[in-house]
């Protein structure tokens, strides 16, 4: 014991520094382990995102800096405002219907005996699993102007053929329908997981308090699921707003550019017509709404993080 006391101070000096070194080495290793991730994010996400802003301020030949010239040009074009309108209509309508259908279907699946749930859940998620470009092709075929299998059924009821992708109103309806078809199962899965996490006792307590079935939904289910409902809708809003595949395959923006959303129009202008700066400026218009949604999601995530 005596020798500890004697050696103590020396050991302290040595110990502090070498332990410090150890800790430093640990952070260095950790940093190196995260380095590929950091490089990937910096070069292939952060840099292009910033670069897009710079590109948007060049002229078509990318030889001259034109400031907000591209934006000015866009504001003066009718097509641009149509794209703004259609993007918002597309995203908001689709998300609302996805949320409603997802919620309803999740409820029905939750209602049936649990041993059958797996099977139904498995079946109902199929649209989400098929690559969107492929399933949209099936819809394109179902909507075919001359051979539409839907119109064939409608004809059986004596209803005239519907120009699914040929007329502005119907075409807008069709792209939203396909988007809802692909996205609703995702909502269903999320809501089903949330429904499962509501403790059964709460429903029992509500029944004892005399709540009817929809009072139970309104006062128990919805408040308990509020978080998941919000975050799923926000996620979906981002993805839907930035959607490309469906519109591109189903209508290519036709008829007369009325179904274009930001992503497809940016592709048309930037890649197909070769005006990269203008394409970049179009795609930048997605940023504000994405930023708002991302802020809300992040707030929710950090809030939950601090609760844990």
């Amino acid at each position: 014991m005596a020798d500890i006391a004697a050696r103590g101070p020396v050991a302290i000096a040595g110990g502090r520094s070498s332990l410090h070194k150890l800790m430093q080495r640990k952070s260095t290793i950790a940093f190196l382990m995260a380095l590929p991730l950091i490089l990937l994010i910096l070069t292939l996400v952060a840099y292009p995102a910033g670069y897009a802003v710079y590109l948007a301020m060049l002229n078509k030949g990318m030889t001259k800096f034109v400031g907000f010239g591209n934006f000015d040009f866009l504001f003066g074009r009718e097509t641009f405002w149509m794209v703004v309108y259609q993007s918002c209509l597309f995203a908001i309508t689709a998300v609302i219907f996805k949320a409603i259908i997802g919620f309803v279907v999740a409820h029905f699946v939750h209602n049936i005996p649990s041993k059958g749930q797996r099977k139904w859940r498995g079946m109902l998620l199929v649209p989400w699993v098929i690559p969107p470009a492929m399933s949209t092709l099936a819809w394109l075929w179902l909507f075919d102007p001359s051979y539409s299998a839907f119109n064939w059924i409608l004809a059986g009821f004596g209803i005239d053929r519907i120009p699914w992708t040929g007329e502005t109103g119907w075409a807008r309806f069709s792209v939203i329908l396909v988007n809802v078809w692909i996205g609703a199962p995702f909502f269903m899965i999320m809501y089903l997981a949330a429904l499962k996490s509501v403790p059964e006792q709460l429903y029992e307590a509500a029944s004892i308090d005399g709540a009817t079935w929809w009072q139970r939904i309104w006062y128990v289910t919805l408040p308990m699921m509020r978080n998941i409902i919000a975050i799923t809708a926000l996620f979906s809003l981002i993805v839907t707003f930035a959607n490309f595949d469906i519109v591109r395959v189903l209508t290519k923006g036709d008829p007369l550019n009325t179904t274009h959303v930001f992503a497809t129009w940016a592709f048309r202008v930037g890649i197909e017509s070769g005006d990269i700066p203008l394409g970049a400026s179009v795609s930048l218009f997605m940023v504000p709404i994405l930023a708002v949604a991302a802020t809300f999601i992040l707030r929710d995530i950090t809030k939950r993080g601090s609760e844990v």
Partner: protein
């Protein structure tokens, strides 16, 4: 040579001192229990001995060597965690041999040591199972097995029994004691359960707010606590604390609890207590078993009094009675046949030979 020595050990989290300077000498083969309420720094102390937490000041030595800057694996210790921390994807054998394998111990040596440890703990037939297939008690044994296999200088236990149900806890407690008697490895054991501490320890270290309150054998702590905290922490039901003051009446020293109730201080304590006559903030500490029903035979320092009973709790072999003296609740242990009835007065007897007088200002037992 596996004594553990702590010298002025300090742990700071940011600006908060979790451990505020601890001195402790643990001798070879000793079973030491660190006990205290949650947040008292007992687990932090254990983790500093293990090397899982850096120490912010002071020294820790194991077997005479200062280990402040030695990583956990080189400290020659083994640890049993509260949730056992068994590797879920490995079976019992692999769990127990993992550390030895990392040290590149020869296969047959590993085999021998695992078998031996399994035999000590009676888990030989469980060696092929995964942790998921084990009961709580069996997991506990495997966690201990993992520690024994390494044949370390020191065993560290971090609340190893708190995930078990009450019955199993008692059983495993005995088991741990048996194992310690077999392997005789120096052991540091952390718990918040004072019963566990009392039953297992050679010496108990009571900690509170990052400091050691008292170190001593279980009996020492029970019968001669040196602080109010230790007096109140050790023992269940807890010691009664009744505000009082000392008065000198007709040459005899009396401890007065209320206007109507006072007892003479035992003769052998008079000289110790005289200095505190008239002091404010004094508290009388008396364990429940020293308040009983009246009995025919009166020992010295036993005094009868009568008080209405508030609540009666029959426990089977005894009955707990709760009553109020001058606003503080007091618990007594009476014979089940003594006829204690709630809301009725009862004749009780206080045995002052085991009394403690506490200065509530400093928290010290006088």
């Amino acid at each position: 040579m596996a004594q553990v020595t702590l010298r002025k050990v300090v742990k700071m989290y940011d600006e908060v001192q979790a451990v505020r300077g601890i001195d402790l000498d643990i001798t070879d083969k000793e079973f030491i229990v660190l006990v205290g309420p949650s947040g008292c720094g007992k687990s932090t102390t254990l983790r500093m001995i293990a090397g899982l937490e850096e120490i912010s000041g002071g020294d820790i030595a194991i077997g005479g060597d200062v280990v402040n800057d030695v990583p956990p694996k080189d400290r020659d210790i083994a640890m049993v965690f509260q949730n056992y921390a068994l590797y879920p994807h490995m079976n019992v054998y692999e769990n127990m041999s993992f550390g030895l394998k990392l040290k590149r111990t020869p296969k047959d040596e590993i085999e021998r040591r695992v078998r031996q440890a399994a035999q000590i703990l009676d888990i030989t037939e469980l060696l092929d199972r995964k942790p998921k297939q084990l009961s709580g008690g069996q997991r506990q044994r495997v966690a201990m097995g993992r520690a024994i296999v390494r044949d370390p200088k020191v065993f560290l236990f971090d609340e190893p029994l708190s995930n078990l149900d009450a019955k199993l806890r008692v059983q495993m407690r005995t088991e741990i004691k048996k194992v310690h008697q077999k392997v005789r490895t120096t052991t540091v054991y952390v718990t918040h359960d004072q019963v566990e501490a009392m039953t297992l320890a050679d010496r108990v270290v009571v900690m509170n707010a990052g400091l050691i309150e008292q170190v001593g054998s279980p009996n020492d702590l029970y019968h001669s606590p040196i602080t109010k905290f230790v007096a109140g922490f050790i023992g269940s039901p807890a010691m009664n604390f009744i505000p009082c003051h000392l008065e000198q009446a007709a040459g005899a020293l009396r401890v007065r609890l209320s206007d109507t109730l006072s007892f003479p201080v035992p003769a052998d304590r008079t000289s110790r207590y005289t200095a505190h006559v008239g002091k404010a903030n004094l508290v009388l500490g008396l364990r429940p078993e020293h308040i009983t029903e009246t009995r025919p035979h009166v020992e010295p320092n036993q005094h009868d009094f009568e008080n209405p009973i508030d609540v009666v709790e029959p426990m089977g072999m005894e009955t707990l009675v709760y009553f109020t003296i001058a606003g503080s609740e007091v618990c007594g242990r009476v014979n089940p046949n003594a006829g204690a009835t709630a809301e009725k007065p009862m004749k009780l007897r206080a045995d002052l030979s085991n009394m403690h007088l506490i200065d509530d200002g400093t928290g010290k037992v006088l």
